[in-house]
C-alpha cells in the first residue's frame, strides 16, 4: 500500500510548473482565441460558438475525422501484432539482443521531415530499390494518382517508422518474466501458443496499453510525415485532421484554427480518460 502523504505535491511541483508553462498556458490561450474573430491579434471581437458550429457542421471535418480514424485503425492493427511478434522473435543470446534492438530502432532516429523523402526515393520507379522491383509486380509508376496506393505507402511508411517503438516496449516487458515461469510451463507440457497466451501476453498488457495509446494518438494526428508524400491527394483522399489544422494555421486563420485545436484537444482528453479507465480496470483484474 502507498502511504497517504500530500508532500507528494512538493515532488511533482517542478513538473507541474514546466508543463503549466508549455502546456496549460498555451492551451488556455487557444481556448480564448477560439471564441473570437481575429484579423490581427490586437483587433478582435467576440463571436461565441460560431467557429465551433462551422467546424462541427462541415462535411470536410467529418471526412478528415473518418480518414484519420481509418488510418489509426490500420496502423494499430498492423503495428501492435507485428510489434509483439518481432519482440517474441528477438534471440535470447545476449550479444544478438543488443545488435537486433539497435538496428530495429534506427528508423526512430531519422528526422521526421526526411521520412517522406526517404520513402519517395525508395519508391522512385527509375532509381529506387523498391520502385524498380515493384514495377515488375504491377505497381504503377504513377501511384500518386491512385488512392489505395497512396494509402498503402502511408501505412508502410508509418509501420516502418514506429513499429520499433512497440517492439522495444514489448521486448522490455517480456524480459521481466522470471525464468521459473517458463520452467513451470515446460513441466506442464505447455505448447508455444499456451506459453504465449498464459505467460507472455498477460505480462504485456500494461505496456501494450501504453503502446496503443501512443500509437493511436500519434497516428490519429499524423502531420509532418503525411503531407509531403502526396500533398493530401489524390483528390484530398489523404487529408488528415492535423493536416487540415496545419493548413488553417499557415493561412493565419487564428479563430478557426484555435477552435479546431480545442476540438482536437477534447479528443485527446477523451482518449486519455479512456486510457486511464482501462488502466485501472487492468490493475484491478490483475490484483484479483
Amino acid at each position: 500500500m502507498k502511504e497517504r502523504d500530500n508532500t507528494g505535491w512538493i515532488f511533482v511541483l517542478p513538473a507541474v510548473l514546466v508543463l503549466g508553462l508549455v502546456g496549460l498556458v498555451p492551451l488556455i490561450t487557444v481556448v480564448n482565441y477560439s471564441f473570437f474573430e481575429i484579423f490581427i491579434l490586437d483587433a478582435r471581437f467576440w463571436i461565441g460558438m460560431e467557429w465551433y458550429e462551422a467546424i462541427i457542421g462541415s462535411g470536410r471535418f467529418w471526412a478528415s475525422f473518418g480518414r484519420s480514424t481509418l488510418f489509426s485503425m490500420l496502423i494499430l492493427s498492423v503495428q501492435i501484432p507485428l510489434g509483439i511478434a518481432i519482440a517474441l522473435c528477438i534471440p535470447r543470446r545476449k550479444m544478438w539482443v543488443g545488435i537486433t534492438l539497435a538496428v530495429v530502432a534506427l528508423p526512430l532516429l531519422v528526422p521526421w521531415n526526411m521520412i517522406p523523402s526517404l520513402w519517395l526515393a525508395l519508391l522512385n520507379p527509375d532509381s529506387g530499390i523498391l520502385g524498380r522491383g515493384l514495377g515488375a509486380v504491377g505497381w504503377p509508376a504513377d501511384w500518386k494518382l491512385s488512392i489505395p496506393h497512396t494509402w498503402a505507402v502511408l501505412v508502410a511508411m508509418d509501420v516502418w517508422h514506429w513499429t520499433s517503438l512497440v517492439v522495444i516496449l514489448c521486448y522490455s516487458a517480456l524480459t521481466t518474466i522470471p525464468a521459473s515461469h517458463y520452467q513451470a510451463a515446460a513441466i506442464d507440457g505447455a505448447g508455444p501458443w499456451q506459453v504465449f497466451r498464459h505467460i507472455q501476453l498477460p505480462q504485456l498488457y500494461h505496456v501494450l496499453l501504453m503502446a496503443v495509446l501512443l500509437r493511436f494518438m500519434d497516428s490519429f494526428m499524423i502531420y509532418t510525415e503525411a503531407f509531403p508524400i502526396n500533398a493530401g491527394g489524390p483528390d484530398g483522399a489523404t487529408m488528415f485532421l492535423a493536416v487540415d489544422l496545419g493548413e488553417e494555421i499557415k493561412a493565419f486563420n487564428y479563430g478557426p484554427s484555435a477552435a479546431r485545436s480545442v476540438i482536437y484537444f477534447l479528443i485527446v482528453l477523451t482518449v486519455a480518460y479512456s486510457f486511464s479507465k482501462a488502466q485501472s480496470k487492468l490493475s484491478e483484474r490483475q490484483a484479483a
Partner: protein, 269 residues
C-alpha cells in the same frame, strides 16, 4: 518435440530477418544516394561515386551550426527534463497524494497532444518571453512531450526497486531526500540513461516546434535540411546530412543497447 521447436526457431529467425530487411531498405537507399553526385560538379560527374556530399557538411557554415544547435537544445532539454522528472516519478511511484491519478492523466494528455495544436500560442508566449530563435526555446517546448514520457519511464524503474529498501533506509535514519540522492539514484542509474536516451530520440527528430520557434536563428538539423530543398535540390547532400544526423543517435543506441531492453517494469499509478 525437437522437430517443432526447430521449426519455430526457423520461423522466428525468418520473420526477424524479414523485418530487419524491411527496416533497412529506406536506410540503405538513403546511404546509397548520399555517396552519389546528384548535381553535376566540375570534379564529380552526375551519378558518379563521390564523398563530396559529406565534405559539404563540413564546409557549409549553416550545416555546421545546425549540428551545434541540435546538440545544444537536446542537451538543454535533457538537463531540464531528467531532474524535474525524477522527483515526480518518485512521488507517483511511492506516495499517494490528493489528485495523483488526475495529475498523471493530465500529464499523459499533454504527451498525446499534437504539437500542431499548440504551435501558435507557444510561439506567442515564447516571443513575449524572448526565447524564440534560441536553442533554449526549443528545449523548453520539447518538455511538453518529453517530460510526461520521462516520468512514466522513470516511475517504472523506481517501482522495480523493492519498497523494503525505502523502509530500511528510513529506519537507518535516512531522510527522504538523502535516501533518493544516496540510494535510489544509483540504483536507477540505467533507468536515467534510458530516459535521457528517449528524450534525445524524441527531441532530435521533432519538426513542428523546431520550425515555428526558429524563423531566423538557432535552426536545428531538421530545419537546415528543409532549407536545402529548393529550385535545384542536391538530394545527395540532403541524404548525406540525414545520414550524419543519425550518427550520434546510432552511437548512443549502440552504447545503450543492453540497458534498452532492461527495466520498464511498467507500473501504474
Amino acid at each position: 518435440m525437437t522437430g517443432t521447436t526447430g521449426l519455430i526457431r526457423i520461423v522466428k529467425a525468418a520473420l526477424l530477418l524479414a523485418f530487419v530487411v524491411f527496416v533497412s531498405l529506406p536506410l540503405v537507399q538513403m546511404t546509397m544516394i548520399s555517396f552519389v553526385a546528384t548535381l553535376g560538379h566540375p570534379d564529380a560527374e552526375l551519378g558518379a561515386f563521390t564523398l563530396r556530399n559529406y565534405r559539404g557538411i563540413f564546409t557549409d557554415p549553416n550545416l555546421r551550426s545546425a549540428f551545434a544547435n541540435s546538440i545544444a537544445y537536446v542537451v538543454i532539454n535533457i538537463c531540464i527534463t531528467v531532474p524535474v522528472a525524477i522527483p515526480a516519478a518518485y512521488a507517483f511511484s511511492r506516495l499517494s497524494f490528493v489528485g495523483d491519478k488526475h495529475l498523471f492523466l493530465a500529464f499523459i494528455a499533454f504527451r498525446i497532444t499534437p504539437p500542431v495544436v499548440l504551435t501558435l500560442p507557444i510561439f506567442q508566449l515564447f516571443s513575449s518571453l524572448g526565447i524564440v530563435n534560441s536553442v533554449f526555446g526549443i528545449a523548453l517546448a520539447h518538455c511538453l512531450f518529453n517530460l510526461p514520457i520521462s516520468i512514466w519511464i522513470l516511475q517504472g524503474f523506481i517501482s522495480a526497486v523493492p519498497r523494503e529498501m525505502d523502509e530500511t533506509a528510513f529506519l537507518d535514519g535516512y531522510s527522504r531526500r538523502r535516501f533518493i540522492w544516496k540510494i535510489l539514484l544509483p540504483l536507477i542509474a540505467p533507468g536515467i540513461a534510458v530516459t535521457a536516451f528517449f528524450c534525445f530520440m524524441f527531441s532530435w527528430v521533432e519538426v513542428v516546434f523546431a520550425r515555428i520557434l526558429t524563423t531566423t536563428n538557432g535552426k536545428p538539423i531538421s530545419m537546415a535540411l528543409n532549407a536545402l530543398f529548393g529550385f535545384q535540390t542536391d538530394i545527395g547532400l540532403v541524404m548525406a546530412v540525414t545520414v550524419a544526423s543519425m550518427l550520434p543517435g546510432a552511437a548512443l543506441l549502440f552504447a545503450m543497447r543492453s540497458h534498452l531492453s532492461r527495466g520498464f517494469k511498467i507500473g501504474q499509478v
